[in-house]
């Protein structure tokens, strides 16, 4: 069972209750990053019944960088990630308040076109979930949804994105075989390629290596470092070493709140809060 769903399951059992009030005014955005943010999260609250999963989240995601959401299991980081492309809609018991702005547009605005929003963000989940079809069609699926049906274009794109994740040489002879036959590591890279095919701006990764062996994990991490030239990445993890290897910017979360954020140097070498110090010491 994935981390995220357990949180949501627990929370779903709690009934009743009203969403917590939030202040309407935006606090001054005196953010520590120099780049212009691609995502702005403002007064963001998520609540299920009486349990507050996310509390007054205020966060800017810098463009073209890897932002790591760090924290122990159950701290709400996966929920935050899934709210970014409104997968929270799948859980009607979740009550969401506040704003998430992408290119200045509110993701949660009622008239917002969901599919466009979601195509701007590719998702990589904890375990790979290839679609129940062939390797080729897994990648062509997103293109089909975008309305790209020209066989030649599709074929080129499939090859390009499989090459991007270094999977082409491994699978080129069995493109039309079922994706489920691939190894877990290959599946995860396929899922990444699938996400890239729809041309996202942001890649959301939810503990993307937690089901993988060390070698496959390393491949994914290397891929991420390459990808940040073209994309913005948001990676959820509880592994400190991974955060160190990947992050340009680290957000430390604990029980639904952002405790601290900063560069890896600030977080690892000069932690300010006691919670973070303890978390670092416990040696995850």
């Amino acid at each position: 069972m994935s981390n995220s769903s357990t949180i949501i399951d627990q929370v779903q059992q709690v009934n009743g209750g009203e969403a917590g009030a939030t202040s309407g005014a935006f606090p001054n955005t005196s953010v520590q990053t120099s780049d212009s943010p691609i995502l702005q999260i403002r007064d963001f609250n998520v609540q299920a019944g009486d349990t507050r999963i996310l509390k007054d989240i205020h966060l800017d995601i810098p463009k073209g960088k890897i932002t790591v959401l760090l924290g122990p299991s159950g701290c709400g980081k996966t929920t935050l990630l899934k709210c970014l492309n409104r997968l929270s809609d799948l859980h009607p018991s979740l009550k969401v308040k506040g704003q998430i702005l992408i290119d200045g547009e509110d993701i949660f605005h009622p008239t917002q076109d969901l599919t466009t929003i979601r195509q701007k963000m590719g998702l990589l989940s904890q375990r790979p979930f290839p679609l129940p079809m062939s390797i080729y069609k897994n990648i062509a699926y997103g293109l089909k949804i975008k309305g790209i049906r020209d066989k030649k274009v599709v074929k080129e794109k499939v090859e390009k994105h499989l090459r991007d994740v270094g999977l082409w040489e491994e699978v080129k002879d069995r493109l039309h075989g079922p994706a489920a036959r691939l190894s877990i590591g290959q599946q995860q890279r396929l899922c990444l390629a699938r996400g890239l095919a729809v041309g996202p701006e942001i890649i959301l990764a939810d503990e993307p290596t937690s089901a993988l062996d060390p070698i496959s994990s390393r491949k994914i991490e290397e891929e991420f470092l390459r990808l940040k030239e073209d994309y913005t990445l948001i990676v959820v993890t509880h592994i400190l070493r991974q955060a160190k290897r990947l992050a340009d910017h680290i957000v430390f979360m604990y029980f639904g709140e952002i405790i601290e954020q900063g560069t890896p140097d600030e977080i690892f070498n000069h932690p300010k809060s006691d919670i973070l110090k303890q978390y670092l010491q416990s040696g995850h």
């Binding site: 994935s2 997968l87 969901l114 590719g122 679609l131 129940p132 699926y141 729809v198 959301l204």
Partner: protein, 301 residues
Amino acid sequence: MAALQRLILPAKLTDRLSTGWLNFAVLFLILLPLVIGAGLVIKSLPLLEQASIGTMLHSAEFSPQQGHFGFYAFIMGSVWVTLLSFVLSAPVCLLAAIYLTEYSPQWLTQSMYFVIDVLAGIPSVVYGVWGVLVIVPLLADYVAPALGLTTTGYCLLSGGIVLAIMAVPYMLNMLMEVFRSVPIELKEASLSLGATYWETIKWVVLKKGLTGIIAALSLGISKALGETIAVLMVVGNVAKVPKSVFDAAYPLPALIANNYGDMMSVPLYDSALMFAALLLFVIILVFNSITSFFLYRIKEQ
């Protein structure tokens, strides 16, 4: 620990006793289909010595008094009424199952489980009563006249409708189970690629659940094929191959159930009915086995 020790002392004996009981019960269960098959074969032997299976399956002449036992009309009756019920119930169940698992509010899904339980629990004969009270007059007095036809109402369509309703709880329950077992992460993956919820269902959920859907639908078919009393009460029971849905039909189970009174007085009649039961038994067993095997193979891959 002491209490447990005391439990263990007589345990040797109880263990042996219960193991014996267990072995007996499981042996009984394994032998049951064989014994049923053998019993029915033995009982139909007198007829099988008289006529070949091929002619009995192809001939439509059924006159026990003259010793002619052709089952073609009954087989066609069974096939048509089953197909009709399938056509009526399968799309309904599929759509309702998708709605109830993917779209509907929680309270509706929960209440639907109660409806399913009760619909499945209502005895066949009660469906028959309802069919006689509602469907038969509806077809005879309104539907057929509106189409410029005449019918008594005791016809193929009545049987198909009643059977379709009876198949709903079984199919719906299993289909809902199939859709619920599709992992949510798969839907998330499809949605993240920009698919609408409906596209996700159409291209991912249905595909992922395909084997389960096939199993659920064939379960409905085999249930409909063997259903007896309710169909018997509304289908008309005329031993002719039906030409339209407003003609009466005479499915195999109805033949068996309807003639139990006469069968001892006419020579070979009881043997013919046992053969009909054997036919039904073999068809459904083979049908179910193929479905299960097919499913098993796909699961293995």
